[in-house]
């Protein structure tokens, strides 16, 4: 009878404990509800749905009516749903690679400065919570929204695919798609952190958004060009120039993401960069198993995760050191 009473008291205590809201949870929930109810978020979702639906729809109709039109190597129908480009419509992964940063920046660029300008930050930080809860909840809240968005979108495409095609995806296909979705989230998280960082540095939301967008544009549009031009004009040896170009290109998160997802969703890619003729001769045109594909892009994966963490670290450090009224 002793232990039953003690269990009862424990249960009661549990009950009481669960009634008391944990501050971090409260902060994150508030973040999520603010994001989800905002116009900005609706516009982003609308934008993504509009742009991707065209691409997915054309591919699906080709698969149904005329599968021969897809390139011969696509034994993986579901993967081609994400990677094929028909009628010059950009494939799903390109669209996501393009819109992802936009989503990240849009969710982060006014995270801190808007609270500052509204005069809410000093009120919230005067509640009994550690200071880093504030910045962490900004990140975690937006990240949860991103995960929900990306996975909802991915599974939507998959679901529509199953309805159209009528056969279930192979297990490996499914895992590859899952991986793709996870890395998409990490990629968006990188830009989210960049947005948050610039929201700490710049007081004006518009300045903050512009500077984050400028960095994004730099990497997507100019960086590749600059690297290629630089390598070609300064290094006479073409092979070294190419390998240097590749090395420097990998500094760009945009390049990393594209390489990473392309390899993950295209099992027929066997190597990054150029192979010499001897290396290729004698190989059979076949596909790589998932493990090998992962191995191929392992450096990209680590680099992307590291970049995201570094970006978060910077925003964390900046925030913790900043005066409340700066």
């Amino acid at each position: 009878m002793d232990w039953t009473t003690s269990i009862n008291t424990i249960l009661k205590e549990e009950q009481i404990m669960s009634d008391i809201p944990a501050p971090f949870r409260v902060l994150v929930e508030k973040e999520i509800s603010d994001h989800v109810r905002s116009w900005r978020f609706m516009i982003l979702v609308g934008l993504i749905l509009l742009t991707t639906s065209g691409s997915v729809y054309t591919i699906l109709s080709v698969i149904r009516d005329n599968p021969a039109e897809l390139s011969a190597e696509s034994t993986y129908l579901y993967l081609s749903l994400f990677t094929s480009s028909i009628n010059n419509l950009p494939p799903f992964i390109t669209l996501i690679g393009f819109l992802g940063p936009l989503v990240g920046i849009a969710l982060g660029f006014d995270a801190v400065n808007s609270e500052r300008n509204n005069g809410t930050i000093s009120r919230i930080l005067s509640q009994p919570i550690p200071r880093d809860y504030f910045i962490n909840s900004k990140f975690v809240g937006a990240l949860i929204v991103v995960f929900a968005l990306v996975f909802a979108l991915g599974f939507l495409v998959l679901g529509i695919g199953i309805l159209f095609i009528g056969i279930l995806p192979a297990f490996e296909e499914f895992v590859r798609i899952l991986m793709f979705l996870i890395f998409t989230c990490i990629y968006i998280a990188f830009w989210l952190n960049l947005g948050i960082t610039s929201s700490i540095v710049f007081r004006q939301a518009s300045t903050s958004a512009l500077s984050a967008l400028a960095i994004w544009l730099f990497f997507t549009v100019f960086y590749g060009m600059i690297v290629r031009m630089g390598a070609q004009s300064f290094i006479p040896n073409e092979a070294t120039a190419n390998s240097l170009t590749l090395m420097f290109s990998r500094v760009s998160p945009d390049y990393l993401f594209n390489e990473l997802t392309t390899v993950l969703l295209t099992p027929s890619i066997r190597s990054l960069g150029a192979l010499s003729f001897e290396q290729v001769s004698g190989t059979l045109p076949s596909t790589l198993p998932l493990g090998q594909s992962m191995l191929l892009v392992w450096p990209d994966i680590t680099a992307l995760i590291a970049g995201t963490l570094i970006c978060f670290g910077i925003s964390y450090a900046l925030f913790m050191r900043q005066e409340i009224r700066a």
Binding site: P23, S122, S126, Q127, P128, R325
Partner: protein, 311 residues
């Protein structure tokens, strides 16, 4: 309840707070008076552990605010001078949110939020978005927001900013009533003497990061008043340079200025009979001599106009 010891806070090239010492007892209402840039907000932020002192220490309820900010913030409610609320929440939602951050369960939070909204007179606007609130309404909501965590200490930074005169009267009355009923310690900052005078048990005058004077409002007036000089207006005829010269020689007179048909003499209170005697002896007719005593207002004015260079 609050003890500030030798507090110094430096910003890049300005010293915002300069070796400040201050203690505030439990249940006391203390008014921190000072012009813009005196360092009021800076002191308040260090009290909450939101800003780190350059040197010195700040303890609230025997807890060091810099090293144990959470324990301090648990018992302290803070109303910032630029208080604001999340735009898309209603007044009620905002209060519930704050309450939940303080570990109050939702049901209880809603209940006390409604009560508080009634107390601050916002019951009709409870379900209205906070972005539609006027400045005064926001300020009231801010007070409710401070009270919902049932603090032992209230720290209010320029609480009357943006409220109309009648509102100020009610608002300050409410603060005083709540403080006395619940034994809450209150620290409020302001640059308006009249308001502070009305509800504070004790005030401190802060200029340039230094506490110039501190004490009970009446004591303070007397203390400073005694040391101050009185200005006499002497109306006499004729006003000659010789008369002015003679007046200057009167002991305990510090300054003499001609002003049309009158003379303004500054000196200590005791100089009055000597001044009239001098005027009469010099052969002029004395029509009137009147002394103007400095009130707390003037002293305050003086300090504020003089600003830091008076120190």
């Amino acid at each position: 309840m609050i003890a500030i010891k030798d507090l110094v806070k430096d910003y890049d090239n300005t010293r915002a707070v300069d070796h400040l010492n201050l203690t505030i007892g439990k249940g006391e209402i203390f008014g921190l008076l000072g012009p813009n840039g005196a360092g009021k907000t800076t002191i308040i932020l260090t009290l909450l552990g939101l800003s780190e002192p350059t040197s010195g220490s700040v303890t609230v309820n025997d807890r060091n605010a810099t090293s144990e900010p959470i324990k301090v913030k648990k018992i302290t409610g803070y109303l910032p001078d630029d208080v604001g609320f999340s735009e898309n929440s209603t007044g009620l939602q905002s209060l519930v949110y704050t309450a939940m951050l303080n570990g109050i369960p939702r049901e209880k939070a809603i209940e006390s939020a409604r009560e508080l909204l009634e107390i601050v007179g916002l019951q009709d606007a409870a379900d209205q978005k906070t972005k539609t609130y006027s400045k005064g309404m926001t300020q009231r909501l801010g007070l409710a927001d401070v009270l919902i965590k049932e603090p032992q200490i209230m720290i209010l930074d320029e609480p009357t900013i943006g409220i109309d005169p009648r509102g100020i009267h009610d608002f300050l009355g409410l603060i005083r009533k709540l403080s006395k009923e619940k034994g809450m310690t209150v620290l409020l900052s302001s640059h308006l003497l009249h308001q502070v005078q009305k509800i504070c048990d004790r005030v401190g005058i802060l200029v340039g990061g230094k506490l110039l004077a501190e004490g009970n409002v009446h004591d303070l007036a007397d203390k400073l008043f005694g040391a101050r000089e009185t200005s006499f207006t002497v109306v006499a005829d004729p006003v000659t340079d010789e008369l002015v010269h003679k007046l200057q020689e009167v002991p305990s007179v510090s300054e003499v200025k001609k002003n049309g048909t009158g003379i303004i003499v500054t000196g200590s209170k005791v100089a009055a009979p000597l001044i009239s005697q001098t005027v009469v002896q010099s052969g002029a007719k004395l029509f009137r001599i009147s002394g103007k005593e400095y009130g707390l207002d003037d002293i305050y004015q003086h300090y504020f106009e003089g600003g830091a260079n008076h120190v």
